[in-house]
């Protein structure tokens, strides 16, 4: 299958197979007017299968969100049909207002103006804990 090259835009490569819709929704790509192509289960040398999202314009991406959801993603910025920048993501040390603490005893449950902030407690286990009550964050795909 051939998807046309983009002149200016972003290619999210090496998305874990099956996750592209989730990323599409979380990044709000449905709100864009430009071309957005999603490729599911493409062949990957590294991962066997992968998903790819091609966005037909350069937009501001929240790398913390992307890194939290799928730290294996590669972000390719395309300008004038050429690769201008490539960024490999990793799990961010902190994520703010991406996930919400579900502990009813947490201060965030009553003080609405507080940001929901989680810190990376264990990189290997991809474990985040609420900075206020240390409750474990649910995995994003759960």
């Amino acid at each position: 299958m051939i998807i046309g090259q983009i002149k200016d835009g972003i290619v999210l490569d090496h998305i874990t197979a099956g996750h592209c819709m989730e990323i599409y929704n979380i990044l709000g790509l449905d709100k864009l007017d430009c071309t957005v192509a999603m490729i599911k289960n493409a062949d990957s040398v590294k991962k066997g299968k992968k998903d790819i999202i091609k966005i037909g314009q350069v937009i501001d991406l929240d790398f913390d969100v992307l890194g939290y959801i799928d730290p294996g993603i590669t972000v390719n910025i395309i300008q004038d049909g050429k690769l201008a920048k490539r960024q490999h993501l990793s799990l961010p040390e902190r994520v703010v207002d991406i996930i919400h603490c579900k502990n009813p005893r947490c201060i965030t449950s009553t003080e609405q103006e507080l940001h929901h902030e989680f810190r990376l407690a264990d990189r290997q286990k991809k474990l985040y804990r609420c900075i206020y009550c240390e409750t474990e964050a649910p995995k994003v795909s759960e």
């Binding site: 502990n103 005893r105 947490c106 201060i107 965030t108 449950s109 009553t110 003080e111 103006e113 507080l114 407690a121 264990d122 609420c130 900075i131 206020y132 009550c133 240390e134 474990e136």
Partner: protein, 305 residues
Amino acid sequence: MKNLIDIMQMSTEELQELINRALDIIDNPAKYAQACRGKKLATLFFEPSTRTRLSFEAAMYELGGNVIGFSEAKSSSAAKGESVADTVRTVGCYADIIAMRHPKEGAPLVATRTAGVPVVNAGDGGHNHPTQTLADLLTIYREKGTFENLTVGLCGDLKFGRTVHSLISAMSRYPGVRFVLISPEELRVPRYLITDLLEPNGIPYEEVTDLEAAMPQLDILYMTRVQRERFFNEADYLRLKDTYILTPEKLRTAKQDLAILHPLPRVNEISVAVDDDPRACYFKQVLNGKYMRMALILKLLEVNV
């Protein structure tokens, strides 16, 4: 250190510094009697407490300082819907240091952002209670002269007891410490303490249900209350509630230099007949809590004596 929210914020060196200061206060109370003259401690207790609030207040008075504050949320602006951030920002204009207890976990951390003065967590829900751990640690140090090579038994409700979790975390940093975790199956320590702390660091521990069988090996016995409301099954509670009542008979096989601790309040888990045993340290622990709070106030206010 500007605030104390979690005991694990403090290095073992900082803890020792605080303990040394507390020991000096015990030996030379007159030297510290005016150390905080002109300073004010605000005790913001959004939920009731007897020991902790009075201990903080006594500590500040013994340092020559003054105390303002409230002892329940309904006598504060929280009852009108004021946020924690605004309350402490206001109080920070009046006081030099704040000790805060709040039913919501993380509230003292929120307070540190706007208070403008040091904040001490005096208990946030079931989360942290670092100054209780300071009391526990000074008691262990005074009784044993060291934190190293001790077998620490913790008995009762190990699942929900915040003081248990903090003490395990703090003591796990000393070489040669091993833990005997004595509880009913239903109230074992949270798994993360095992998988994230004890096992990765190679700290020896065993989980048992029989207090008397564990007794002979213990250097420290930290008793906690088995709480009825934690059980789903009344029959289980009735079966277990008396298992962990410490009596002189159960201490027959204990070491002569065992130290028995309890964060208090107790209900019936330590028989009053044990109170006269020289190994009972739980009321010494109360006093030690005051000395450690004095040392902490001095440190956070950067008062040199």
